[in-house]
């Protein structure tokens, strides 16, 4: 297999291996190379003594330097808080409108808002804020409640049907389940809503439902079904449906009146975070 031989030209032994006629000379390594190996060994031993190194049964060797990645992260987070203190103070002192008007402050608020939104709001409203069935889309100009900067800020503080004091509150009755209307009346109402939103509804049935609509629905949704933001009543004529646009889904909503809940965030976030979040949501919605 391997045959060590002496190379004629250099007088150096070969390693004895051969690849396609190529042989390798077995020249000695420089001695300092060996020193570097021992220096590496010495370094490792010093490292074991100073730094956390060896795992044990119920812990690990801590090392004399007392180094801890956890403590380091905590320290860095604290330092970060201090860095952020300046921006946070500016948010506290400025009004929402001032924050939105100042490019620097706006950038800062948007960055904070995005991060907070991703951690807290995206669970229901989606990463981009597009919402889902039962959870409003925050990106369009269609708002159940006040969509101005201050309105959004207020909704964030008190929530919707959150049980918090002063919470936004509206209630869609469960007309079918609570036997306020008959099944036939609800069928007719469904057709009317379809007609109002320019969908393919049965006009005859819709006309039958008009008195019922005037009696039961107008107080919140208005005579033309345009809704009322002060009461959190949705516009029934646009293409946006919280619980779906189909005949089936509209009927279900009239029958059982689902009323979603949004928590109040006032106690969970500090003021500047809430402000930043409001500016972020307002900006994302196009800020009308």
């Amino acid at each position: 297999m391997s045959k060590r031989e002496t190379d004629e030209i250099t007088g150096v032994e070969t390693t004895g291996h051969e690849w396609d006629g190529i042989k390798e000379l077995d020249n000695p390594l420089p001695r300092w190379w060996l020193w570097m190996f021992w220096a590496g060994v010495a370094y490792a031993i010093v490292y074991w003594v100073l730094m956390p190194a060896w795992p044990g049964v119920s812990g690990y060797t801590k090392g004399m330097m007392g180094h801890s990645d956890r403590a380091q992260v905590a320290q860095q987070l604290e330092a970060l808080q201090q860095v952020r203190g300046e921006g946070a103070a500016q948010l506290t002192n400025a009004t929402l409108q001032e924050i939105e008007a100042d490019p620097d402050l706006q950038q800062y608020a948007l960055a904070v808002g995005q991060s907070v939104f991703g951690d807290n709001c995206a669970t229901c409203h989606g990463i981009g804020g597009a919402g889902a069935k039962g959870y409003p889309n925050l990106l369009d100009d269609i708002w159940l409640w006040d969509g101005t900067l201050d309105g959004i800020h207020h909704t964030l503080q008190v929530g919707v049907r959150s049980g918090a004091e002063g919470a936004r509150f509206s209630k869609m009755p469960a007309f079918g389940r609570d036997q306020l209307l008959t099944s036939a009346q609800i069928n007719d109402l469904t057709e009317l809503v379809l007609v109002l939103s320019r969908q393919d509804g049965d006009r005859e049935a819709a006309d039958r439902a008009r008195p019922i609509f005037a009696e039961q629905c107008v107080s919140c949704h208005g005579p033309a079904g345009l809704g009322d933001q002060t009461q959190g009543a949705p516009n029934l004529t646009d293409g946006e449906w919280l619980y779906g646009a189909s005949r089936e889904e509209i009927r279900t909503q009239i029958w059982s009146g689902r009323n979603g809940v949004m928590p109040a965030w006032a106690g969970r976030f500090d003021d500047e975070t809430l402000k930043a979040l409001a500016v972020y949501v307002h900006a994302n919605a196009g800020g009308r």
Binding site: P30, W33, G128, E240, G287
Partner: protein, 502 residues
Amino acid sequence: MTVVIDRTKPPEGDQAHKGPQSAAERARKKGDAGGGLYKPRAPIYPKLVQGRWRNIKWVLLVLTLATYYVTPWIRWERPGDLPDQAVLVDFAGRRFYFFFIQLWPQEVYFITGLLVIAALALFLTSALFGRLWCGYACPQTVWTDLFIYIERMFEGDRNARMKLDASPMSFNKAWRKGGKHVTWLAVAFATGGAWIFYFHDAPSLLRDFWIGQAPVTAYVSCAILTFTTYTLAGTMREQVCIYMCPWPRIQGAMLDQHSLQVTYRFDRGEPRGPHKKGASWEGRGDCIDCNACVVVCPMGIDIRDGSQLECINCGLCVDACNEIMVKVGRPKGLIAYDTDAAVAARACGEKPAYKLVRSRTLYYAGALTLVGGLTLWGLSTRSPMDVHVLRDRNPTFVRMQDGDIRNSYTLKIANRTFEPFTAQVAFAGVAGAQLKTPGAEVTTGPVALTVEPNQVRAVRVFVTAPREALPEANMPATFSVEAAGATQAVTTSFLSGAANAR
């Protein structure tokens, strides 16, 4: 014509050198004697030599070191709070300043271009003139030369140094050795100290450094470079070139028989042997085996063994041999910058031909011109502004109350100038599109965005279009941004889902 010249056979019997051996040879012997896996470093005592190549080396030594130490102190006026240092690698600010050029991290391809140019230039030089870089300009060579100069100041020339090393410890030996090492360390410290000035404002860093206020990285870098300069130039020297540096191995692929290299013209030199004054030169070579070429070699080799991995092409042996040739009354140039092909031709009694233009050099020159041209073209047409458009993908579009469709984009506009500018952002591709940015009014015309000098500004732009203007679900669209006399158009798309609309 390919000629294989084999002059590497070890000398036999009495033919073995009686004079000073090359360090390589001594190390080989010592390694053999130990029979070990590891070879000790045989110290090299290069003798001082006078001559043309030595003078060129002195001049280059002064020039390269001066460039290195002085460059960070050159000032270059820039507006505002921007650094006034001509050459600055600003890691904290993520900018690279070089006189009138200022590069951003995303323009690192210019650095890549520069490195490719440097590599190709090295290839071309090597193919033409051998390892000139190694012999004259490589920091390892320059600092080693400087360190040997200091060594000579304290310990004298070759013979004195050898005697001193062999002598027992004494006061004389102690102060000479001590002085040398202290001076070495001082130079090494100055080297490491100069390095850090390339990364921070030099005058303020110099002050901060001595009062302990400089960044930790400055002290660490300075310490590392002090250590490496001291060891690599002081005690490692040729070991760096032989064992650490990959270039000696790579250069084998660049050289051919037409490359100029420091060459022992064996056709003229052999058979070698001692020569008595007045004796005839008939029937013998010009080499008088005086070993002058061996004792001056900083790599500790014998050039008469032929071209070899260790040779850095510095030409000191040329100077040494010329001195001897003049003394013995023979023509200069027994060792000279020459090509293998020329030596072989002369050996056959032909006239040597030098070929600078070869396919190899043409390829290297062509590649060098191409890459150099591309880099220069890129630098000269570099836009003062850079625009990126990121369109929202979650959701791809939003339907508004009145049925209009809105797409959202994040525009990143980079101001690469030193003055603030106002960028005019226009949107094209969808009729009747309206633009809006947070905190501003809706507009149909271009949106004006102010960008601070040397900064990137990221802005969300909302584009709303009526449904009638969107016959296709996917409309190609363009953002064109105009600022600082430059215009940049970025293509994107406007999605509406119109094809699936109810």
